[in-house]
Symmetry: none
Subunit: 114 residues, 2 copies
DNA sequence: TGTATATTCAACCGAATGGTTGACCATCGG
DNA sequence: CCGATGGTCAACCATTCGGTTGAATATACA
């Protein structure tokens, strides 16, 4: 399924979660290792990872008793394209932009603004 | 680390606020006109506009009794740059989007009043 | 002047968020 | 088998969020 822009942006709004994404940029990591540099509890980091996974920004795969976390940058594509509308161009008609999203991102349902 | 990223992403996480930004892409608008297409109260929209202004995504200028809202796309630059570190998909999609725009602007003008 | 319009403020409400703690599975290495 | 390790779950707490309503303020206009 395709997470909505709501969920992606909300996931990115937390500095701990952005820090986690930065860490995962280096390499895949186990949950405990992700939590290690933070002052918060392991359970809190586990929740953060759940939020990131729900947003599609990471995937988690359990091997043995270790759950590996992997960055999934493709989930940022929707949000990034949405932002580019406002950063680079003057006046984009919304319906035209939505048609672009449909064409560019395929038939997956988007969080299209009314 | 960067407090404005928190605020910008949190501001973008709400669909009503993103819809407002889309509306402001067309033209500057008064608060009442921004609120008109929404089912929510004027006070709620006023709050949303406050959030967007705090995030730097819009500016508000009062002329007479009307407060005009203006899109400030520069505020998205930090967030956009941050997101660019997570993938190389930007250039591809921007390129596709620019080609799309050329096609769009070449055609007759659209009126996209929602 | 008086009244309508534009916008915010203040108080409140319910739901969500980020955090904690302790109990609870699951799995690894003796 | 055991105990240690990896990770989640459940309950709770404080704060924030998006929304409402009604009052308040400021400006325009007849």
């Amino acid at each position: 399924m395709n997470p909505t822009l709501d969920i992606i942006f909300a996931a990115l709004a937390d500095p701990t979660r952005r820090a986690i994404l930065s860490m995962l940029l280096e390499d895949d990591m186990a949950v405990t290792d992700v939590a290690e540099p933070f002052a918060t509890s392991l359970a809190a980091i586990s929740k953060h990872l759940g939020v990131l996974a729900t947003a599609g920004l990471i995937t988690q795969e359990k091997r043995g008793r270790v759950k590996w976390c992997k960055l999934e940058p493709d989930a940022l594509r929707d949000a990034s394209i949405w932002m580019q509308t406002f950063g680079q161009f003057e006046a984009i008609h919304l319906d035209a932009f939505e048609r672009f999203l449909q064409a560019e991102l395929g038939s997956s349902q988007q969080d299209t603004d009314p």
